[in-house]
Symmetry: C2
DNA sequence: TTATAAAATTAGAATTAATCTAAATTGAAA
DNA sequence: TTTCAATTTAGATTAATTCTAATTTTATAA
């Protein structure tokens, strides 16, 4: 809780109660939750919470670089507290979105001379081991 | 035109006039167009065309693997006729979505043992050279 | 403390990409 | 021609996100 306040303050974000709760939720739930997941879960302990606040707050966090937005889904954005270098795998069967190790920073590329690159994402898709195991072939 | 029909037939897709036009449009416009871009452009030469047909057809193409859907945008899907190994860069300033060279296939990763991977995407974001050049700093 | 201004939050309306639905059209057999 | 499945269609529906304008909270100054 205290670390969350420090992190917000360090990033020039005033640590309001909602901002603390939302960042805390992301820190403690590494499932890459959607806006609605965050909203519905926090609403229980804070019935006055508005969806707009969750949207506003997450935009603020993304701008400050303390959380990362994931656009691997077609329709809705997911949010990741882990901004370290790692890839994301989406199982097309069960929908689960998992992390995997990949060295994106060292990835060699060409054709972006004189571009400023602020963000790199690696998205894989397929079927996870669990879903493959369940399949009676 | 003829090659398009051959490509569709090879993938067990009956080459209806709309399917031909849509695939032709993707082949000739490598700007990663959205559904609406495709729809509005083709509607001129084919006023009866429906949005639903564009959606249906693109889903069909994606399933067959002859076009690739890009989810680099938050809100809408873009489509790429080029299914070869390459990365995508989105300029946050002008919105342009460009290709770049990157060897995704040879990318080393860990943590997806016994997963079936059907698709790999590399998305970079930032500011393109053109936008950087325009900026009077 | 009290007054004032700025920042944060709110509910609900508006927007819009994508999906769904049920009817109409087309095209290939029989 | 008749029949049946595949394709296409317009418009309704869904749902994530954004917008708006009002309200509440917090900070600052007198
Ligand atoms: Mn992650
Ligand atoms: Mn491309
Ligand atoms: Zn799975
Ligand atoms: Zn640009």
């Amino acid at each position: 809780m205290n670390e969350i306040i420090i992190e917000l303050t360090k990033n020039n974000i005033k640590p309001s109660i909602h901002r603390i709760k939302i960042l805390e939720y992301l820190r403690d739930n590494r499932t890459h939750p959607t806006v609605d997941e965050i909203y519905l879960n926090l609403k229980e302990g804070c019935p006055t919470l508005s969806r707009a606040t969750v949207y506003n707050t997450l935009s603020l966090f993304v701008q400050s670089g303390i959380v990362r937005p994931l656009t691997i889904e077609d329709r809705e954005i997911r949010y990741d507290y882990n901004t370290e270098d790692h890839g994301h795998f989406k199982c097309e069967q069960c929908g689960f979105l998992s992390d995997f190790e990949v060295n994106v920073a060292q990835l060699k590329y060409e054709g972006l001379e004189h571009h400023e690159i602020t963000n790199k994402d690696v998205y894989f898709r397929g079927v996870c081991n669990k879903c493959l195991g369940n399949k009676k072939s």
